[in-house]
Symmetry: C2
Subunit: 154 residues, 2 copies
């Protein structure tokens, strides 16, 4: 079992000190994902691990650890970005349902996981995107990223 970051360090992280996501959410590549595009309040990123096809993150540009820290326009804008990305994933993957999760248990910087859930999935299971590890070829990542980027441009 992985342990939680100890309380003192966690409290610092929650306030943004040493936040890895602040440092790498805008980069073309980081250890976990590839940049798809920038939206008004967020960066959209495709996870390297595509065990659950279409797993995408929408990451708030500025640091905040919980939703109530956002001003009204920020909260509205962030969810507008999430909804826009979800609609595009729905068009591409035709899932039964999109799942939206804001967890941040490893890095408390507001980001929403978007996970297309397919008819073959067990609907009682929460999305566990890292239960297995599936990597694609660079050509496959590029193709998905370009499709997402094209559709998010509208």
């Amino acid at each position: 079992m992985t342990r939680w970051t100890p309380p003192e360090q966690w409290t610092r992280l929650k306030s943004g000190h040493g936040c890895v996501i602040c440092a790498d959410a805008h980069l073309d590549e980081n250890p976990f994902s590839y940049l798809v595009t920038e939206l008004p309040h967020s960066f959209v990123r495709l996870a390297r691990n595509q065990y659950m096809p279409g797993w995408t993150n929408v990451t708030l540009k500025r640091h905040a650890s919980e939703l109530w820290e956002l001003a009204d326009e920020e909260l509205a804008g962030f969810w507008t970005d999430v909804a826009r990305t979800a609609r595009v994933l729905d068009d591409i993957y035709h899932p039964a349902k999109i799942n939206y999760g804001v967890f941040g248990n490893l890095c408390p910087h507001v980001h929403c996981h978007l996970v297309p859930r397919m008819y073959g999935d067990d609907p009682t299971k929460p999305p566990n995107m890292t239960e297995e590890e599936v990597h694609l070829t660079m050509a496959e990542y590029t193709s998905i990223i370009e499709t997402l980027r094209r559709q998010l441009a509208y």
Copy 2:
């Protein structure tokens, strides 16, 4: 493994036909939860299963199955209700992090699961609120509901 509702029936459910949440989200009690309070765009409900203490739902009043179906003010208002409820849960449970999940894989009516995550939890595990079944006494439910209701009134 539980199977997904078959596509034809699922498509009807997504459009609201036969939606159980539409029928019972406003009731004092339903098979899954107790009503805490009504907020501008949602009903706040405490889950009967308190395996993960503080598991609460914020359920959109009207039927919609995905976030992009909501008008701008509705989307903003729903997430304002969620953020307000999350802050109250944070005050009561003092978790390391609040987890927010909009799944709807059994009933596709927009509702957000709010799950306080504690330092003793495994941060790599997504919140699995029904992994075990823990029921409280009626007096215990009432006490939590009253505390939530009192704090949500501000």
